[in-house]
Amino acid sequence: MSTTDPTIARVGGDTPTPAAASAVSDRASRRASIEEAVLPPLVALLLAAVVGDVLILSFGQSPGAVYRLLVDGTWGNAYGFGQVLYKATTLVFTGLAVALGLRAGLFNIGAESQLAAGGFCAAIVGLLLPVGIPSLLCLPIYILAAALGGGVVGAVPGVLKARFGAHEVIVTIMLNFIVLALLNYLTSTRLHVPDTLHTAEIGSGVLPRVSDVVPSFQGSAANATILLALLAMIALWWFLFRTRRGFELRAVGLQPHAAEYAGVHVGSVTWRALSISGAIAGIGGLNYVLGYKHYYEEGFATGAGFLGIAVALVGRSHPIGIGLAALLFATLSQGGLAVNALVPKQMVDVLQAVVILAVATSVPEVRRLLRGARRSAER
C-alpha cells in the first residue's frame, strides 16, 4: 500500500501519530482520492455492462452486435451524438438541481415538476413577448421566467421545511403531482393548439441549434442550451466551493449543528437551497421549450427529474461528475432507441437501473471493501 486514506481517523480514533501523518505527501493523498472517486463508478459501469451482456444473450442476441449498434447510434454519428448532447443538457440541469439539494442535506425529488414549471413559464413569456425582439434581449427574460417558475415550485417545500419541519421528500413528491396536473390543466383547457397537447409556438428569441453551426448535426435537437448547461456547471461549482454561501450550505449538509454554531441560519439555507435547486431545474426547461420544440408540451419533463437524481448520485454531487453522468445516461437513453430493433426498450431501462444501483450502493460498499483490501494486503 503506497497510498493513504483520510478516513483512518474515523476507524482508528487517535491512530495516526502526528509525526508519521505529516510525512504523507500531498501527491499520494491526492492520487488516493482520485482513485477513490474514479474506481467505484468504473466498477459500477462494468458491472452494468456485464449484466447487460447477460440480458442481451437472454434475448438471443449477440452482446457485441448490440453494443456496437448502441455506440454507432450515439457517439458514432453526428446526429446520434447531437441527441446525446440534447438529452444530457436537460439531465445536467436536473442533476445539478438535485446535487445542490444533496450538498445542503436535502433530497429534492421534485426536479421533474420544477423542470416542467420552468419550461411552462418560459413558454408563457414567449407567447406574451412581441415577435421580432432580438434573441439576446429575450434570453435573460426567458432565463428569468424559467428560473422563477422552477424556483417557486422549489421554494414551497423549502419554506415548509424551514418553517414547519415538513419533510422535503414528501412535499416534493406531492408537488410533482399537483404541479404537473395544474400545468396540464392550464395547457389542455386554455393554451393548447386544438388537437394537440402543446401551446402555440413562441414568436421570438428561440435558441439556435447546433446544426445551424455544424450542418452535420442536421435534425438533432441539440441547441445552444448546452452552453447554458456548461455555464450552470461552472457557476454551481464556483458557488459551492468558492463562495461563503456555498461554504455555509455545504456545512449545513455535512453537520447542521456545526453550521448553526458557525452562525448559519439552517432554516434559511434550507429554503434558499431548495429555491435555487428548483430554479436550476426550471432553467433546464429552456432546452425543450426554447431550443427544441419552441412550445410547452405536456409530458416533456417526464422522467427527467428521476434521472436527475441518478445523475446527481452517480456524479457524486460534483458538477464535473454530473456532466459525465449526464452524458452516460443520455447515451443509454439514445442508445436504447438505436438498439430497439434487437432488444426491447426495457433492457436499456434495466441497464440504467443497474448503473444507478451499483453506483449508489458502491459508496459505503466500496469503503468497506477498501478497508478489507487494506487489511488483507497487510496480512
Partner: protein
C-alpha cells in the same frame, strides 16, 4: 526497558510482543509491547496518537498487526478476528457508547446474543440475566429503563454489562472516566476492583494520571507507537509517568495550585463583562432545563462551573452562545445579547469552545484551514467569494502558533487526532477578537501535553482581561483554573463560592444534590 518476560512466572493474561501496525504510510504501532498479568488492573497511558487505541484494537481482533506476536492466556492468537477475541473472553468497552437509545437496558445488553423463546425475544429472561449480572458485579442499572433516559455514568455501566454478558474475562476500557463525575468515577473503581477480585483482568486506557495512581497495579506507557516504560504503580509518581509520556517535564493541572487572583481584578470594582440574569431554558419537550440562573463575570476572571454532566451546563452555554432559545437577560459589556443571533454575538465579542467537538465545533470533512475560520467565514471574503489566500495565511499562522500537527492546512480535520482537533477549535476561538470566552469541556479527550497547552491559553485570556466561563466535568480542572466556582444541579446554580472556599470536599455534596444553597 526491562524485559518483562523475565519477571513473570505464571502465564500472563495478555502478552503482545513487538507489534507493528501501519495505515498506509502512517505507523500507529512501531514495536509496541504489552504484558498484563491475570487478575490485575493495568493502566495503558500515553498521549493522543501514541498508539494505545490501535494496540487495543489489535488485541480485540479489529486490526491485524503487520508483524509481532500476540498471546492471550499463553495461546498464540496473532491476527485473530473479533469473533475469536469475544469467544476467548476479550471484550472492549468503547469510548463512544454503542447503545441503541430506544431500547431498554436489558435489550441492549443481550443485543446480538438474544435470549429467545421461539422467534420472540424473551424479555423476562433477558431482564433476569441482567439483574443477576448486576448483582454479581455491583453494576446496578434498572434493566427495564430505556437507555436514552440514563445518565452518562449509567450508560457506561450498560456498556460494561454488555461486554461482561458476552463472557469477557479480559476487559479493555477506553477512556472510561472522560464522561463521569467524581462520585461516578469512584463507583466505577469499586466495580472494577470487584471484577478484579473475581479474577477478571482489566486494561484501562486513560490520560488522567491521578486515576492511574488511584486504581492500577501496573502501568505501561506508550509514546509515538512504542512502549517506553512499564512500572508497578506503587512507588511511581504522576510526574514520572508524565515525563515518560511526553519525554520531558510538564506542568500538571492536577497539582498546579490555583495561581491567585490576577492583578486586573484587584484594581477594584470593574463592571462585569458577562452578566446573566434570570436565565431559563426549556428542553424541546418543554421541561425546564436551566432555571433562573444568575451570575456575572468580571474582566480578568475565570468562573468555573462544576457539576455532574446533564444538569443544564450544556444548555446554559448554548443559550449564551445563541444556539438555544432562552428567557432572561444576557449582557456582554453592557450590551444586550438576547436579540442577537449566533454570528452577531460572536461579532459582539463572544468566543465559544463547544463541548461537542465532532458535532458542533468542527466540520470534520472540511480542511484544517476551513475549520480555522468556521464561524468567522464572513470576515474572510472578497465579494461573494471566500478569500482563500487570506484563509490559508490565517491557517499557517495559527498552525505554527498553536502547534497543530500535522502542520498541513489542507488535511481534513477528520484526519487529525483528538488533541489536535481541539487545538484547531482553541486556536480559532482564541485568535478572534473577543471579550468573553465560553469554554465547555475544553480538554475532554485530550492528552496531557495538549491539556497543559489549553490551560495556559485560558489563563492567558484571563490575564489579558477577558472574562472566561469554564464548564468542566473534571473537578480538578475547574479547581485549577477558576477564580470562583459555581456548581450546577438540576438546572440551577446551587453554590457559588470563591476559589479559596472550594474543594472536592466542599463541592461534592452540591454536585450530587445533597445540599442546596442560595
Amino acid at each position: 526497558m526491562a524485559d518483562p518476560s523475565a519477571s513473570t512466572a505464571p502465564t500472563p493474561a495478555i502478552r503482545l510482543r513487538d507489534i507493528v501496525k501501519s495505515f498506509g504510510p502512517v505507523q500507529a504501532n512501531r514495536g509496541a509491547e504489552l504484558e498484563v498479568a491475570r487478575g490485575e488492573i493495568h493502566a495503558l497511558v500515553g498521549e493522543n496518537g501514541a498508539g494505545k487505541s490501535t494496540l487495543m484494537r489489535v488485541l480485540a481482533g479489529m486490526y491485524a498487526p503487520n508483524s509481532g506476536q500476540m498471546a492471550v492466556n499463553g495461546r498464540d492468537v496473532t491476527g485473530w478476528s473479533t469473533a475469536d477475541a469475544i469467544a476467548a473472553g476479550v471484550g472492549m468497552v468503547h469510548q463512544h457508547f454503542m447503545l441503541v437509545p430506544t431500547l431498554t437496558v436489558a435489550e441492549n445488553v443481550v443485543l446480538g446474543s438474544e435470549l429467545t423463546r421461539g422467534p420472540v425475544l424473551d424479555r423476562a429472561a433477558a431482564e433476569r440475566a441482567v439483574r443477576e449480572l448486576s448483582e454479581r458485579t455491583g453494576l446496578v442499572v434498572p434493566p427495564h429503563a430505556l437507555v436514552r433516559e440514563l445518565s452518562v455514568g449509567q450508560a457506561q455501566r450498560v456498556e460494561i454489562l454488555k461486554t461482561l454478558y458476552r463472557g469477557a474475562k479480559i476487559l479493555v476500557l477506553d477512556e472510561p472516566t472522560a464522561v463521569l463525575s467524581p462520585p461516578e468515577v469512584q463507583e466505577l473503581w469499586t466495580v472494577l476492583r470487584a471484577l478484579r477480585d473475581q479474577g477478571d483482568t482489566i486494561v484501562l486506557i486513560t490520560h488522567k494520571l491521578d486515576e492511574v495512581i488511584d486504581i492500577s497495579e501496573t502501568i505501561t506507557v506508550m509514546r509515538a507507537g512504542r512502549t517506553v516504560a512499564r512500572m508497578p504503580t506503587a512507588g511511581t509518581t504522576p510526574q514520572a509517568i508524565a515525563r515518560a509520556m511526553v519525554g520531558r517535564d510538564v506542568a500538571l493541572a492536577l497539582d498546579a495550585d490555583y495561581a491567585g487572583v490576577p492583578a486586573v481584578q484587584q484594581l477594584g470594582a470593574v463592571p462585569a463583562l458577562l452578566e446573566v440574569r434570570e436565565l431559563s431554558v426549556s428542553s424541546a419537550a418543554g421541561h425546564p432545563v436551566v432555571r433562573n440562573v444568575e451570575f456575572s463575570i468580571a474582566p480578568g476572571e475565570i468562573l468555573g462551573i462544576a457539576g455532574v454532566e446533564g444538569n443544564g451546563q450544556t444548555e446554559l452555554i448554548e443559550a449564551i452562545a445563541g444556539l438555544r432559545a432562552a428567557t432572561g437577560t444576557i449582557a456582554l459589556g453592557g450590551r444586550d445579547l438576547m436579540p442577537l443571533d449566533v454570528r452577531r454575538r460572536g461579532d459582539a465579542g463572544l468566543s465559544h469552545i463547544p463541548e461537542d467537538r465532532h458535532e458542533r465545533a468542527l466540520v470534520l470533512d472540511y480542511s484544517v484551514a476551513e475549520n480555522l475560520v468556521l464561524g468567522q467565514q464572513h470576515r474572510f471574503t472578497r465579494g461573494a467569494a471566500l478569500d482563500t489566500g487570506r484563509i490559508l495565511a490565517h491557517a499557517r499562522a495559527l498552525i505554527t502558533h498553536y502547534d497543530i500537527r500535522p502542520p498541513d492546512a489542507a488535511l481534513p480535520a477528520r484526519a487529525l487526532s483528538g488533541g489536535n482537533q481541539q487545538k484547531i477549535v482553541v486556536a480559532r476561538e482564541m485568535s478572534r477578537d473577543f471579550k468573553v470566552l465560553l469554554a465547555a469541556q475544553p480538554t475532554r479527550g485530550v492528552d496531557v501535553g495538549a491539556i497543559e497547552f489549553i490551560h495556559a491559553r485560558l489563563r492567558e485570556a484571563r490575564d489579558q482581561g477577558k472574562a472566561v466561563l469554564l464548564v468542566s466535568a473534571d473537578l480538578a480542572e475547574v479547581l485549577a483554573l477558576s477564580d470562583r466556582v459555581a456548581v450546577m444541579y438540576g438546572g440551577r446554580i446551587v453554590a457559588l463560592l470563591p476559589r479559596s472556599d472550594a474543594s472536592p470536599e466542599t463541592l461534592g455534596p452540591y454536585m450530587t444534590g445533597a445540599e442546596r444553597a442560595a
